[in-house]
Amino acid sequence: GAGVSQSPSNKVTEKGKDVELRCDPISGHTALYWYRQSLGQGLEFLIYFQGNSAPDKSGLPSDRFSAERTGGSVSTLTIQRTQQEDSAVYLCASSLGQRDTQYFGPGTRLTVL
């Protein structure tokens, strides 16, 4: 079946602009995760959604970052007033439940000029 999909695959933006990154998880997966992959920091956890529970936002680096998950499926990660240090690959993953195998999407490469 279809895997995790993310859009856009690449995004170039100017410093100070807002961006939205989209993730479509595998159908039926109740858990959804966002991670960030950057040269300096490696792979970092950002946020976790599980069903209708309140998300775990403990990994978000600043209040410029937010995420939502509508209808228990699609998720959008929003970065406001982007900074150059936000440049990274943003990876989305989903799993059947907590601690089940996380399946990753291809990522969105964000470049902030």
Binding site: V4, A31, Y33, Y35, G42, L43, E44, F45, Y48, Q50, D56, G59, L91, A93, Q98, R99, T101, Q102, Y103, F104, G105, P106, G107
Partner: protein, 114 residues
């Protein structure tokens, strides 16, 4: 807090030779361990995982790893590599029965030389 250390950032190896990618971890609670592979411009793909039971875990593409609790290690091995194994490999853990976020190592770039 937990952490994962991948001791080698780059490993070159000749085709058909064996390879070992090293991973050590630190955690004050029980862990679940994973190896992921990332091919260029692609997402992460699970190679294998250790949750419990047998300490020798076999994964896809001929890879295997052994969980060693006393040495806090989870090294990845393959007896004979192929050109197609050229990729970056990440060791990761989930710490504690109630946790879910993956903590990753910095990655090891495996280059297979023809």
């Amino acid at each position: 807090a937990q952490s994962v250390t991948q001791l080698d950032s780059q490993v070159p190896v000749f085709e058909e030779a064996p390879v070992e990618l090293r991973c050590n971890y630190s955690s004050s609670v029980s862990v679940y361990l994973f190896w992921y592979v990332q091919y260029p411009n692609q997402g992460l793909q699970l190679l294998l995982k250790y949750l419990s039971g047998s300490t020798l875990v076999k994964g896809i593409n001929g890879f295997e790893a052994e969980f060693n609790k006393s040495q806090t290690s989870f090294h990845l091995r393959k007896p004979s590599v192929h050109i197609s194994d050229t990729a970056e490999y990440f060791c990761a853990l989930i710490a504690g029965a109630g946790s879910y976020q993956l903590t990753f190592g910095k990655g090891t770039k495996l280059s297979v030389i023809p």
